[in-house]
Each structure stands twice: as structure tokens, then as C-alpha cells.
């Protein structure tokens, strides 16, 4: 069971109050976590990564275990602490504005 923390606007869109938990089949990677997340919450399709290119949207980043995973290859293995549910996988919206 992998824990995922979403930014507030995506929690509202997915109609969840807190972090969500998802089952990932096979190796836990950014790609497989997002695949499972979008499968469980189809309304999130297109909001975190582009529908077609699957590229991360520019103003979002991925963190876990105090590390920025945003630039990692999407099929790189996630840290064990995320896989074991000890630490959450964070989808973070960039701070922007004034």
C-alpha cells in the first residue's frame, strides 16, 4: 500500500480529505504510482501529467523521503520507505504568485 499526498486542489477534485492509499502492481515507480492513482481517481487524469506525452505538468513536482524525484526517470524504483508505506509520495504544486 503506497500513500500519496496530493495538493489541496487535487484532493478537492478527487473528493478526498486526506492522503490516499493505492495498490501498485509490480515495481513501484513514479509511472506505476501515477497509473494506479489515475485508475483509482480518473478525474485526476491530465491534471498531474499530460494526457498524451505523460510528461509531468511544469508547475508540479514529486517528492519522497525529503528528496526531489521530479527529474528521475519515470521508471526508476521509488525508495523502500515509500514502497513500505512508511513515507508518503508527495505531489507538490509549485509556490507561485506574489
Amino acid at each position: 500500500m503506497i500513500r500519496v499526498v496530493l495538493p489541496q486542489h487535487l484532493r478537492t477534485l478527487a473528493r478526498v480529505d486526506d492522503e490516499v492509499t493505492i495498490d501498485v502492481r509490480g515495481p513501484a515507480t513514479v509511472r506505476s504510482v501515477l497509473d494506479a492513482l489515475e485508475s483509482q481517481y480518473p478525474v485526476l487524469q491530465g491534471t498531474i501529467r499530460d494526457h498524451i506525452t505523460q510528461q509531468r505538468r511544469p508547475f508540479l513536482r514529486f517528492f519522497a523521503c525529503e528528496e526531489d524525484l521530479s527529474q528521475d526517470p519515470p521508471d526508476a524504483a521509488l525508495p523502500d520507505a515509500v514502497v513500505n508505506g512508511v513515507e508518503p509520495f508527495l505531489v507538490v504544486g509549485a509556490m507561485a504568485g506574489g
Partner: protein, 371 residues
């Protein structure tokens, strides 16, 4: 008794304003989709309880929301807008080719007869249609593909398709407008399109009378005369009497013919409303006085409408999709400002009062007249 529902899109959410036919006392509901830009929301003429909204964000992209109860509750529907085939390029600000990239939905236009059919005008400019209530979207590629698409370039606000007019007497005919490409018409349900910009003159482009390249801000139609269109161009207020085959300047005595919205009285096809703005580099009313101008002669002769509107120190703008009319008798006229006010007139513009004063910047205003 009849009622009015005003649908307001703002920089930070949507609001639904309702009143009975007296239009004296208003209920304000919202924000819906708080924190998101709502470029536009509009109700289906075939089913007034069916509403659609374009919710967008620089962080999270595009969401389309649908309501089946007049805006009380909403559900997200499809948000996948993919250009047909190989998208190709349009012209960038510096004249270089730039790949077509979907950014957001500027305008939603429900079918006149089917609540599940809706058109979406998007940036970068293209026209999409859904026939299943917004779940799935497909481009009508004949518009971008008609020949001039590669030469279209964005206006300051982007390359947006912002106006969609459906001909109530001819289901195969519709009009669209794009900043800064111009106006286009289809006579075969969207399969093929032709530019309809003859008579437009834009000094800021290399060929002022080019077939495309004009920064059309808004077009309006009276449903009883779909061949007569009124246009607020970047500069110039224009009119056509032949469905866009040729246009004439009807700016007449306006203090400035720059502006964004334009609309037509619900019962008087020759009565037209605009909001003059000082210039393309100073997006506020001349002299700090917010004035709607009304022509009862289809253009040329315009009168300022000021009763109830601020006549000093007012420096708001009124955006292209932020004016609408109801179909009560007498006709109500509504507009929203970038300062967050929504003004209403229940006497065709003779007097005005704010419904709300302190919303986020208003992007769009639509009105439903309910039985």
C-alpha cells in the same frame, strides 16, 4: 413567475446569481471551484438545468464541469483535448513557427437543441465538440486545416477561439472568432470553413486588409436575424448584413472604438451594447468613467448609459465574454468587470445597479432566463 440565473466565471472560481423576474433582489452562490480560473460557464438552451463550466489552472490544467441541477452540484467530465492528426504549427509572436499546444478552454457553447452536444473554443485556437455531455471531445479539424492556420498568431492574451455563434435557423451554419486570426464561418456543420473578414482593417498587421490576422474580440447576433452580426474588433465596431461576407464600420460617435464585449438587445435586433475602453495599451474606460454605449440604430449613433455606473476614478476593464442579456420584458443587460463587480440593468441599460461588488476579477457573464 420567471426567474433569471446569471453565471459568472472569475479568476478564482464560479458564482451563480439568481433572482426573480423583478431583478431587484439577488442570491449569490459560490464560489464553485474556488481558486481555479473559470473562463466560462453556460447553460443549455435545450435544458436550462444543464450547465457546463471551463475550470482551468496553470498548475493542474483543464477541467470541464457539468451540472444537471442548475449549478447546485457539479461533476467533472472529460478533459482530454487532443488535436486531430499531426497538429503542425502556427505563427508565434516573433513570426516563427510554433507547435500547436492545448492550453485551456476559453468558451463553451451548448447546442441549441441537444443538452449533450456542446462546442468548446480552445487556446491554441481550435474548435472541439462533444456529443456525450462533455465526456469525450473531438476536434473539428476543418477549421485549423482550411489553409490559413499556419499563419495565425496569438493576441496578447493568447491564440484563443473565444466566440461561437450557432445559427438558430440553420443547424449547419456557425460562426467563430479567434484572437488574432479573425472570424470564420461554416455552412456544413463544421466540416469546412471560410474566413469572413472582408471589410476589416487592422493597422497593426503587415497587410491591413488581409484575409486573416485580425484581432476580433467578440461577435454578437440576434437570433431573429442570424445574417446580421455585430463585431467588437481590437479597434473598430463593425457590422455585417450578409453573414460576414462583408463588414462595415459602425463605430460612429463612440468616444473610442476599442473594447471587448458586444451584445444585442433580446427583443430589438438593432439595439446594440458596447463598453468603450481607452486603448489597447490602457485597458480601462476613458476619463475613469464606466459607460456602456447603446445604439438603437444598429450602429453609427451611440448614447452613453451612465445611470448607476461609477463616473469617476473607475479603471476596470470588461472582458470579451463578460456581457450578456436576458430575454425578459424589458430586456436585462449584465456585465462583469475586472474589479469584481457584476452590474445589472433591468431596463435595457437606462439604469444600472451592482448585483455584487467584490468578486474576483470577472472573466465571463452568461444569463439564463428561466420559466
Amino acid at each position: 413567475m420567471s426567474a433569471v440565473r446569471v453565471l459568472v466565471g472569475t479568476r478564482k472560481g464560479a458564482f451563480v446569481l439568481t433572482s426573480d423576474a423583478t431583478r431587484k433582489k439577488w442570491d449569490v452562490n459560490g464560489p464553485f471551484f474556488g481558486g481555479w480560473e473559470v473562463y466560462h460557464l453556460k447553460g443549455s438552451p435545450a435544458d436550462p438545468s444543464r450547465l457546463y463550466a471551463s475550470q482551468t489552472s496553470g498548475w493542474f490544467g483543464q477541467i470541464i464541469q457539468r451540472s444537471s441541477d442548475g449549478g447546485k452540484t457539479w461533476e467533472p467530465v472529460g478533459n482530454k483535448f487532443v488535436y486531430d492528426g499531426v497538429p503542425g504549427t502556427h505563427q508565434w509572436y516573433d513570426g516563427t513557427p510554433h507547435p500547436w499546444e492545448f492550453k485551456r478552454v476559453w468558451h463553451l457553447e451548448p447546442s441549441l437543441t441537444d443538452p449533450d452536444t456542446i462546442y468548446a473554443g480552445v487556446e491554441d485556437a481550435a474548435l472541439f465538440r462533444s456529443t456525450d455531455g462533455g465526456q469525450n471531445w473531438h476536434e473539428l479539424p476543418g477549421l485549423r486545416g482550411h489553409g490559413s492556420g499556419a499563419s495565425w498568431s496569438p493576441g496578447a492574451g493568447g491564440l484563443g477561439l473565444h466566440t461561437i455563434l450557432l445559427d438558430p435557423g440553420n443547424s449547419k451554419r456557425m460562426f467563430i472568432a479567434i484572437s488574432a486570426a479573425g472570424a470564420f464561418r461554416t455552412d456544413d456543420g463544421g466540416e469546412t470553413w471560410k474566413p469572413i473578414n472582408r471589410g476589416l482593417r487592422s493597422e497593426g498587421i503587415p497587410n491591413p486588409t488581409a484575409e486573416v490576422g485580425h484581432c476580433v474580440h467578440r461577435i454578437a447576433m440576434h437570433r431573429s436575424r442570424p445574417n446580421v452580426l455585430f463585431m467588437q474588433k481590437h479597434w473598430d465596431v463593425m457590422r455585417t448584413d450578409n453573414a460576414g461576407d462583408s463588414w462595415q464600420d459602425v463605430g460612429g460617435n463612440l468616444p473610442t472604438d476599442f473594447g471587448f464585449p458586444i451584445d444585442v438587445h433580446a427583443h430589438e435586433p438593432e439595439t446594440v451594447y458596447v463598453v468603450p475602453i481607452k486603448s489597447d495599451s490602457e485597458h480601462y474606460p476613458p476619463d475613469g468613467r464606466l459607460r456602456v454605449y447603446r445604439s438603437r440604430t444598429g450602429g453609427h449613433e451611440w448614447e452613453p448609459l451612465t445611470n448607476g455606473l461609477p463616473q469617476r476614478d473607475c479603471y476596470v476593464n470588461v472582458l470579451r465574454d463578460a456581457m450578456a442579456v436576458d430575454s425578459l420584458d424589458s430586456c436585462g443587460v449584465y456585465f462583469g468587470t475586472t474589479g469584481g463587480q457584476v452590474y445589472a440593468s433591468s431596463d435595457a441599460g437606462d439604469s444600472w445597479a451592482p448585483i455584487v461588488r467584490d468578486l474576483p476579477a470577472v472573466l465571463s457573464v452568461e444569463v439564463q432566463t428561466l420559466p
